[in-house]
Symmetry: C2
């Protein structure tokens, strides 16, 4: 059905039989690669996002250099609020800053309802170009931030320790918070649909800040909006990955969200989550990103431990539990990818094999 | 058995019948109180820790002003590494810094094995003075950091984003890490025993950084050392509270740790954890600290939701899921304490009551 030369990732997302476990890692197109840093020297981060040739170039790097089983389009979740009219500053090492954060109704009114086909055309062009250059070697993943995670950035404005501002906002202005979440949800669903039309083979929703919330608040301010997005992309039969960091408590509900794959951070045993979720979804993860600081033998040991924990059968997309860290030696990621490719066949095929 | 006028907290820790749910909150002797800030103006943080009169004064403030059911001695978990010979700088708003962190064997060798009765006598004096001034009104809690959490501070040296240095340390120098954890464990156990002898009625072990670790690593580098400390506590019948933030995955093992009470962060439903742990331990927690930014009605609603989630019977010590934040209005904490005192009786006594 697919013209892809390597569709292991897509099959694992749908829990169809695979010969071995596929692997990609979050932020695989990133600073840990000298080849990425060379591109980054020529252009700042947002220019890279907005220049399809540069975005495509760094998206392909981990496919060519590391041998991962899926590409993920180089971009940022904050391109959505930026396209909705918020000024965005990204300074290396400092993290993104919105100098004019949203704090009240007047701020909220300034947010534009956009057509992603226009305002975010540069991402769609990058997707189309990357698909062409990938030449069907591996699938391409598109992504977005969850409405809750985007709202957190948009209200806090910059890196936060206790996230006091966003918490104050939702507890004291809940109606405004929900109105904003609705608006972001509509734009994000359109954005993902446009990306799918432009050619991505799967999408991932990042709820980086879901874990700031109690279970009750997560199910009030984050999960319903992700479910709305999933319902609006559902007519297309492409895998949806939901990665909500730190929300262990809501796994039974995430299984019912409509997502095909649930991304796990490293705070749980993947085998225990598989039991809990009863193989109704595929699982992605979940090696502690800092294990890539260790020696190759240690890395192999951890990779095997995780694959054994998941156990036999399809439905596991190997990944880290969060993005790869910028000071990891690329050789260590290569060792991990090699290990998963070499050792995972034993967890697939008939038991007698 | 006890001369205490209010021993609700101690009874709840041991799951003995209580007339209502007791409440105290982590960092209740802290910056959110104007009366604390007035003392803090006269002396820096470490001087306050090292001056029994000042430590006792701020320890009593939340008992007098807020009406909590337990006092916790004003101190810091980092007094232990400081007493072991590490220079410590605490700057308001910046967080603690060890200018000479531990990175190798030579650094580790400089750490002294101390006698807490000598080097930490100022804490014991503060405990004795506070007990006297409390005059049996409520119990006094003593505390320490877990060996893993202390090691994390001692190796990182200062606030960290990805905790790369400590992770590098444990993956590449595991033998040295375990030797250090052993040394800290011995000192910490002696320290808690000295505090008990000085008069504290219960102890809490804070594993603030337990959640940085995967379940496998938590059970290698953190839990066994806390278990060793608990085994060494004398006399045996003093309540031990274990608060490990972000380690939801290991609750079944925490129940077997020997602790009487498990502290919960706000990432889970307390009722679900009660079911999971089968009433073998008491539970402490677990309101999101930022709920104290909300209005009084909202705070009452949340407090009731948590008490209903725990359900009927003893074994719940109401608390926040982490320390109270410095910009919370004291009135809001008072509203919470009032609500727990007024509303919790319905969850105790015979069902017909």
């Amino acid at each position: 059905m697919t013209a892809l030369k390597n569709d292991l990732f897509l099959r694992a997302c749908k829990r169809l039989p695979v010969e071995r476990t596929p692997i990609w890692v979050m932020r695989q197109a990133g600073r840990y690669l000298p080849e990425y840093r060379a591109v980054r020297k020529k252009a700042d981060f947002m220019t890279m996002c907005k220049t399809p040739e540069l975005a495509a170039e760094v998206t392909l790097q981990p496919v060519d250099l590391i041998g991962v089983d899926a590409a993920i389009i180089f971009s940022d979740i904050l391109v959505v609020p930026e396209a909705m009219g918020m000024e965005l500053e990204i300074t290396e090492g400092k993290g993104p800053v919105f100098p004019h954060p949203i704090r009240n109704e007047a701020d909220a009114k300034k947010l534009k309802e956009i057509d992603p086909g226009q305002e975010l055309k540069y991402v769609l062009d990058a997707v189309a170009l990357t698909k062409k250059e990938l030449n069907q070697r591996v699938p391409l993943i598109g992504f977005c931030g969850s409405p809750w995670t985007l709202l957190t950035y948009m209200v806090e404005g910059q890196g936060a320790k206790n996230f006091s501002i966003i918490k104050n906002f939702i507890y004291n202005q809940p109606a405004l918070a929900h109105a904003l979440l609705d608006k972001i949800t509509r734009v994000t669903a359109d954005y993902l649909n446009a990306k799918i039309q432009a050619g991505v083979d799967a999408v991932q929703i990042f709820d980086t800040w879901g874990g700031l919330l109690s279970p009750h608040d997560f199910e009030t301010f984050s999960l319903p909006y992700m479910e709305k997005i999933i319902r609006r992309i559902r007519p297309k039969d492409i895998p949806v990955i939901l990665f909500a960091k730190g929300v262990h408590f809501s796994y039974p509900k995430l299984v019912e969200s409509g997502a095909d794959v649930i991304g796990l951070d490293w705070s749980m045993e993947i085998g225990a989550v598989r039991k809990l979720t009863g193989d109704k979804v595929a699982l992605q993860g979940n090696m502690d990103p800092t294990v890539l600081y260790a020696g190759h033998e240690y890395i192999r040991g951890e990779a095997l431990r995780i694959m054994r924990s998941f156990g036999h059968g399809s439905g596991h997309v190997f990944n880290l539990g969060h993005g790869i860290l910028p000071d990891v030696p690329p050789e260590n990621l290569k060792a991990l990818v090699r290990c998963v490719k070499e050792e995972s066949a034993q967890f697939h095929g008939s038991a007698s094999k």
